[in-house]
Amino acid sequence: MPEQLIQGRQLADNRWTTLTIADDAGDTNLAHVAVPAGAVIIPAPLWLAQRAALIAREGEIGVSLASTFEVETLAADIAHFSLIAVEFPKFVDGRGYSTARLLRERYGYTGELRAVGDIGRDQLFYLSRVGFTSFLIPDGRDAAAALQSFNDFPEVYQSGVDQALPLFRRRAA
């Protein structure tokens, strides 16, 4: 099973290309990395290094956030992104769930929010609750079967990005 995108709760084509940069590339190098044309996802540090030029660039831009990245750094730039990808190096690393809620609930991000990395069927329900709208299911996992998991629970107790009111406010109604 090859890598497969889920978007809008169905299998979808990935129209974005992703630009990756080697871990050992320093800040000075980032200023010289060429960003290709078209819809491209770049690492957040690259955005910060070439911010002015990238704002002036034609075409859609997305940023990818490492699990350790502090999303506050991009607070003023949210409007420039058509896509924000949050990386999950391991599915048990839950930092990206807080990142997603902050983007949606604090910084007002309304574009595509994509979960990438070590994710699969058993993470999709919670990921969708904190505001992710697309999911790049890695090679070897069954994305088609994973679609069922959006309906794992018929009800939820807490508020989330998907549900503005906690159950206790809806129960009372």
């Binding site: 048990v92 769930y97 604090r106 794992d152 629970f153 009800e155 107790y157 508020s159 129960r171 009372a172």
Partner: protein
């Protein structure tokens, strides 16, 4: 007690279906061990030495008799007829088959129970005082708040994959009986000058390798904000808690590293965004839940029942049991009773299927159909008429529930240890048994008086050894089982961590060493002094001298570091 409505039922049943599917995929081979492990842990399922262990949630320790009967039934049909109550008020079964675990969860769901988040790096079962709702010194009943927190923490989407496990304890009395300062979040119910309910919030307590007492981060949190404030704490922890080293991943390490002031500043900054959000609790919701914990229909009874007074005077064995196992109740003519699960020959906290059924019957006949689990691994019937105490005692004796040892040396907290647990360095149950045998004489035991002795089979400290007057810790020395002893620990408002006495002991020597420590206490105590009082007055040295009679104390002290 709280009864599920259609929402609660639907959520728990959906969980059973989800776990059934996950188990099926794992058994088919499409979900690897590494992928399945965190999922099964969040359903309380460990793979142990012999078989999977299932940890069943007992929210804040409260059980209805029909739930006890279901637990007995599950223990009989799916296990080997023995359940083990844990220090977090849960029930563990040690012989569950993986392929049957989903069926067990379905059985539990039929009586409004589950094993949700009883393990894994998520928010665990909310615990509280076993005398909640009946304690004379109670400010407010903690159970409605524990239920509010249970619902909020169940499948919280943001906090399912924390750096490490996360435990919340709540106390409704001025004297803390829920060990809240040993929790990741400890909530102490308080009233302000205007008589409004709120919480004093402690963060960063925990045992394990680095035992730490929680720090106070907020003196008075109005009740409306308890969920948003917990969310702020959890978010700071989820983002900044260490994930590179599991031994440094608990929130206590984050609080210690940042310092209480900086940690509190970060939480408050986060909370400023959350506090007026939809998580703000409403009076209507608190009332909806609180009314399900309304007082039972108590009879109007005199404070002192004449027949009971006669029985107390005439029967020494009965009065001795009353002295240890019966506790005051806020309603005149009623008492709370601890059913001891600490009798000689049985592992501390163990109850057979027949005992679980019997406890259900006792609950029905003597205590409005409810029982509680204590964090000291006993059961409590919280609402017994004083005039029924004697009849209850007679029945409890035949059922093996009436050992009059609550709060005494043989009322040990003890983890399952190396007999069952794959994390353990050493066995703990045989040590408990040997000590129990040594101190079986009731006159001797009562003369020693109040003394907490706890045993953990490894540094994960499930047996709370740090918090006992005498703590015993199993350690591994070149593949052999040794035991390190600490003295002077205590739980409650003045919680403190015990001090290591010196190098560790071989299993066979432990009962002798304990006896020498007790002899030292008895030789030095003033009239009514408890072990801890004497220890506080005379210090570690006399005990150390007694523990190592043949060696110099200099050596003992020097060897502390590698014990």
């Amino acid at each position: 007690m709280y009864r599920y409505d259609e929402y609660d039922h639907a959520i728990v049943q959906a969980r059973v279906a989800q776990f059934r599917d996950q188990t099926r995929r794992h058994l088919e081979g499409s979900l690897s061990d590494d992928e399945f492990r965190p999922l099964r842990l969040q359903n309380g399922l460990y793979i142990q030495r012999h078989a999977p262990m299932l940890r069943i949630a007992v929210p804040y320790g409260l059980l209805a008799s029909r739930q006890l009967r279901k637990l007995a039934d599950i223990t009989r049909r799916f296990d080997r007829g023995v359940g083990h109550f844990s220090t977090r008020q849960n029930l563990q079964l040690n012989w569950i088959k993986l392929e049957e675990a989903p069926d067990v969860l379905a059985e539990l769901a039929s009586v409004e129970m589950h094993a949700i988040q009883t393990s894994g790096n998520c928010i665990r079962n909310i615990t509280t005082d076993q005398f909640a709702g009946v304690a004379p010194d109670e400010i407010a009943d903690p159970r409605p708040w524990a239920e509010v927190l249970r619902q909020w923490s169940t499948f919280h989407p943001e906090f399912a994959w924390l750096p490490r496990k996360f435990k919340i304890g709540i106390s409704g009395t001025t004297e803390d009986r829920a060990a809240i300062r040993m929790h990741d979040i400890g909530l102490q119910i308080v009233k302000n000058d205007a008589g409004e309910i709120g919480f004093t919030v402690y963060v960063g307590g925990g045992l394990g390798r680095t035992p730490l007492i929680a720090r106070k981060v907020r003196a008075f949190l109005p009740w409306q904000h308890v969920l948003s404030y917990c969310e702020a704490i959890l978010r700071v922890y989820n983002r900044y808690g260490r994930r590179d080293n599991p031994y440094k991943a608990r929130i206590k390490i984050l609080v210690k590293t940042l310092g209480t002031e900086e940690f509190t500043r970060q939480v408050d900054a986060e909370w400023a965004h959350l506090k007026e959000g939809t998580s703000t609790l409403t009076e209507a919701e608190v009332q909806r839940i609180a009314c399900q914990f309304a007082p039972h229909p108590y009879e109007t009874l005199p404070a002192d029942d004449a027949g009971y007074q006669t029985q107390l005077r005439d029967e020494k064995a009965f009065s001795r049991w009353v002295e240890r196992n019966v506790h005051p109740h806020r309603v005149s003519g009623y008492a709370a009773v601890t059913l001891s699960l600490k009798k000689p020959g049985v592992a501390p906290g163990d109850a057979s299927d027949a005992q679980l059924d019997a406890a259900a019957d006792l609950a029905d006949r003597y205590s409005f159909g409810e029982a509680r689990v204590t964090h000291q691994q006993n059961l409590v019937l919280a609402d017994v008429r004083q005039r029924d105490l004697h009849a209850l005692w007679l029945e409890a004796r035949t059922l093996g529930f009436a050992t009059p040892n609550i709060g005494l040396l043989t009322d040990m907290i003890c983890c399952p240890g190396g007999d069952f647990c794959s994390l353990a360095n050493a066995k703990s149950i045989p040590i408990a048994a040997a000590i129990n045998e040594r101190f079986a004489d009731l006159d001797y035991l009562h003369d020693i008086g109040e003394l907490e002795l706890n045993i953990s089979g490894c540094m994960n400290s499930c047996g709370h050894h740090h918090l006992a007057a005498i703590g015993i810790l199993g350690v591994d020395k070149s593949g052999q089982e040794w035991y390190q002893i600490t003295l002077g620990g205590q739980q409650g408002n003045n919680a403190r961590i015990g001090e290591v006495i010196g190098r560790s002991f071989a299993a066979k020597d432990v009962p002798d060493v304990i006896e020498r420590l007790i002899d030292t206490y008895i030789a030095n105590r003033y009239d009514e002094e408890r072990f801890l009082d004497t220890y506080a007055r005379i210090g570690l040295q006399p005990f150390r001298d007694a523990a190592y009679p043949a060696t110099t104390t200099g050596n003992a002290a020097k060897e502390r570091t590698y014990a």
